[in-house]
Amino acid sequence: MAITVNRKPLSFWEKLYLPAIAGGLKVTIKHAYGSLFQGKVVTMEYPEQRWTLPKNYRGAPYLVKDQDGSTKCVSCQLCEFVCPPKAIRITPPGQDGQAADRANAEKMPKEFEINMLRCIYCGMCQEVCPEEAIFLQNDWSHIAHNREEMIYNKEKLLALGGTHGGIQKWKHKLEEAEAQESFPVKV
């Protein structure tokens, strides 16, 4: 069924369109004046001005160090496994590889690479990490001259990630183990 929309017939001045045109000119010139002389622009001049991001913003994932400045990652490769776009690649140390920074931690990755071109900032790596070693942080703009530069290695990720104390699991385990050495147990 066709619906008839009742339209109000236009008055003489409305039919002439000229008052409407004058009104349009007025509106546009008001905006032009505002943005020219009063600085009322709605845009942001991007590289110089940036958004203030909320605390819980989830940008690029970076590796973090513990309070002693040691690598928290233990190369379990869970994040590599869970990563939907396969952006993470971990090279484990192997049997005779370098030992972990921290005493008592089993191992740390020989190399940890995140391809920032592939990363989708989903946060699965952060969620799956048993060591709280990787966090999505406040960084969302990556600039590079080529694709190779967009693959961030362990060193770079740690430098960008900063420190995150967290649960200090291995420190407590070490203390426990040390306490076990002397009998009776003192903890």
């Binding site: 045109i21 349009g24 010139i29 032009a32 943005s35 845009t43």
Partner: protein, 355 residues
Amino acid sequence: MDWNFIIFSLVKIAVVVGVVQGMVAYSVLAERKISAWIQDRVGPNRAAPPFMKYIPVLGPFLTRLGIFQPLADGLKFMFKEDFTPAGVRQIYFWLAPAIAVVPAMLTVAVIPFGSQIGNQHMVIADLNIGILYTFGIVSLGVYGIVLAGYAANSKYPFFGGIRSSAQMISYEISMGMSIIPVLLIVGNLNLSQIINWQSTHGWLVMYAPISFVIFMVASFAETNRTPFDLPEAETELVGGYHTEYSSMKFALFFLAEYSNMVASSAMMVTLFFGGWSLPFFGLDHVAGPGSLGLGIAHILIFVAKLLFFMVLFIWVRWMFPRFRYDQLMDLGWRRFLPLALVNILITAVWLYLRS
């Protein structure tokens, strides 16, 4: 052969073509800047040659104003790949941009852009049939667009070409009709004479305001500017007649559009707003051979009036939505054409009663 005439004509042609091209380049910038201001944006404010940052205050100011953007745009157009799609009709595809530009540039030839410097009249060709010449040339402008639409062998340019031919032919009629009262009042087709008449009797916009309104709207339609930009309607037809064009060929269409804007602004100034004359400060009479300053002042007045209309062209673009096709035809044929005819009649009766 009058060598003096040839040399001075060549100089005038070179200067006028150069100035018009420069105006086109900077009206693109003005378009971008003014549209940005109207939409509460900033507009192009980055492009600058490397040494600009060493000039203390002026350098950053000019950069923020985007003064160097046209140079960057021009360079970009030059170095872009000139892509010819498969299946286009090669000859017409190459011919169309040139055919679009040439009439746009030719129209400027008869415009008196100043009174006199020394013994030279500031007009390239002081034709006795100036207005007829302009209308003849302007009506050629449609061929470039139609040919572009036809040659591209693609549906969107084709629609654009068809729309443009219908639109431009319709509005040319109203445009031509709207001029007739002016010719009746002045009794001369020579544009210089029309300006001389206005400098003694007052601007023609006061005698024929309806003519001016029709002429202005029709010239918006002729130059394919919003609200009459159906031939290129980005939202409907991708890019209209120049969809398949790239690089310098595309730039030529841009050049044609903006040259047309310059030309029709110049026509409006000449026909209705007294050309180079101002009705006060003694600026209304032709500068004699001795008064160089007055001659230059006249040119500046003309350019100032021209720029006003260029800004109006750009300004209006951000006010109106595009016409629907049937509304466009309705406005052209059923509103403006009868109105123009009535206007002719009224003017003729008024002139008869007055004589």
